[in-house]
């Protein structure tokens, strides 16, 4: 297992009341938990992944997500069981949409 930490600048996301969870920690899949953070223009991510040695891939995928989405002001935690970059990107978008849509 490998633990990775990233921080990217990102446009502020509308602040939601409730954390959102997306996905399942199953083979080729991952779960993503989005919670409100303290820095409105930054997205902080921490990843625990079963696949070692993919830090650069994570950096590229997550960096592109933070640049293309308004994900500022969030803290995102990921538990991964070998998801592909395509699955990671899809789940991130789903989790963020749920986080924003889930505000009550």
């Amino acid at each position: 297992m490998e633990t990775l930490e990233f921080r990217f600048n990102s446009k502020p996301a509308p602040r939601a009341a409730d954390p959102a969870l997306c996905g399942v920690v199953g083979s080729g899949n991952l779960e993503i938990l989005v919670k409100p953070g303290m820095q409105p223009d930054a997205c902080q991510l921490s990843i625990k992944t079963s696949a070692r040695g993919f830090a650069e891939t994570w950096q590229a995928v997550l960096g592109s997500f933070a640049a293309s989405h308004a994900a500022g002001g969030t803290v995102i935690a990921i538990n991964d069981m070998g998801a592909t970059p395509a699955v990671v990107t899809l789940r991130l978008a789903q989790a963020l949409a749920e986080y924003q849509g889930g505000a009550r």
């Binding site: 954390p19 969870l21 399942v24 920690v25 625990k48 538990n79 991964d80």
Partner: protein, 300 residues
């Protein structure tokens, strides 16, 4: 008329959370100890494995046709739904809470291979605690209904737990047993149980077989809405019987007769014929409604 496939949401393929979302009244799901407030299993981390925030089980309060209930949903996609320390403790805590709050019912969405070997002792003891807690809930008058239809079925200690519940609702895709076919094949040989023979596995452990034999109270389609209406129907007018010698004597006698009559059989086809099914070969092809008609027409 069978609901169109497009409008059906497969229970088998859904996640635990999706099952709950479709099972409970819309908007009534209220999770207890949600992922943001819990931490993954430290025991898995010690083995260098990523955990899940909810440790593979969702416990919640909700409503079923406006009845306040509690529900437990195991996530079969995470570690085979297997029971570890945190996973088990969440279930035990919820069952105890249902007693405290005199809940109308607990729905137990079982999808599990049993003990999580990575936390073997903790898992085994947790299952023992779940067994006691299910019986405590029932003794307090709270029905516990097992819903079985996930990809991991209900195996190992969770197979025992399922049979300790007030009733089991199962789909054709659901499987209920103690040892998995793979385990039996590994230990006793492929002649004893060929775990790759899917049709055989279903004739021995599958939902139709368990329903025909009376081990499960209700057979439903592999559809979240069907589980919902099944649970609603079962709970309407349900009175949880107090634990009694008379009831267990009756079960004892039924189990003894069954063993005396069927002990030599090794295939569901043989049992179904003995139960009075005229054409046992056709059972695997029957749809759910035909199965119910068949079961209700059997001699008792």
């Amino acid at each position: 008329m069978i609901a169109s496939l497009a409008s059906r949401h497969s229970w088998f393929e859904a996640t635990a959370r999706a099952r709950l979302a479709g099972l409970l009244d819309p908007g009534s799901f209220s999770e207890i100890l949600p992922p943001a407030e819990s931490t993954p299993s430290p025991h898995l981390a010690r083995l260098d494995l990523p955990g899940a925030f909810d440790d593979g089980v969702v416990v919640c309060h909700g409503q079923l046709e406006k009845r306040p209930i509690f529900a437990i949903a195991q996530e079969g996609q995470f570690m085979g739904g297997a029971v570890g320390e945190i996973h088990g403790a969440k279930i035990v805590g919820l069952l105890r809470r249902a007693v405290q709050e005199k809940a109308a019912a607990v729905l137990f969405l079982i999808d599990s291979g049993g003990v999580r070997l990575h936390e073997a002792n903790a898992g085994l003891i947790a299952i023992s605690e779940i067994m006691r807690a299910v019986l405590d809930a029932r003794a307090a008058g709270v029905p516990v209904i097992a819903l079985v239809g996930g990809s991991c079925g209900a195996f190992g200690g969770m197979g025992i737990v399922a049979k300790l519940c007030s009733a089991i609702i199962i789909s054709e895709e659901g499987r209920l047993a103690l040892s998995g076919p793979e385990v039996i094949e590994t230990v006793a040989g492929v002649e004893e149980f060929d775990s790759k023979d899917r049709a055989l596995v279903w004739r021995v452990t599958g939902g139709k077989h368990r329903y025909l034999m009376g081990d499960c109270a209700m057979l439903v389609e592999d559809d979240i809405a069907a589980f919902r209406s099944g649970a609603t129907e079962l709970l309407t007018g349900w009175t949880e019987p107090a634990p009694s010698v008379a009831n267990l004597r009756a079960s004892q006698q039924a189990l003894e007769y069954r063993l005396a009559d069927y002990a030599a059989y090794r295939d569901g086809l043989q049992v179904w014929a003995a139960l009075g099914v005229a054409e046992p070969d056709t059972v695997p092809l029957l749809d759910r409604d035909s199965m119910v008609a068949l079961k209700e027409g059997l001699p008792t």
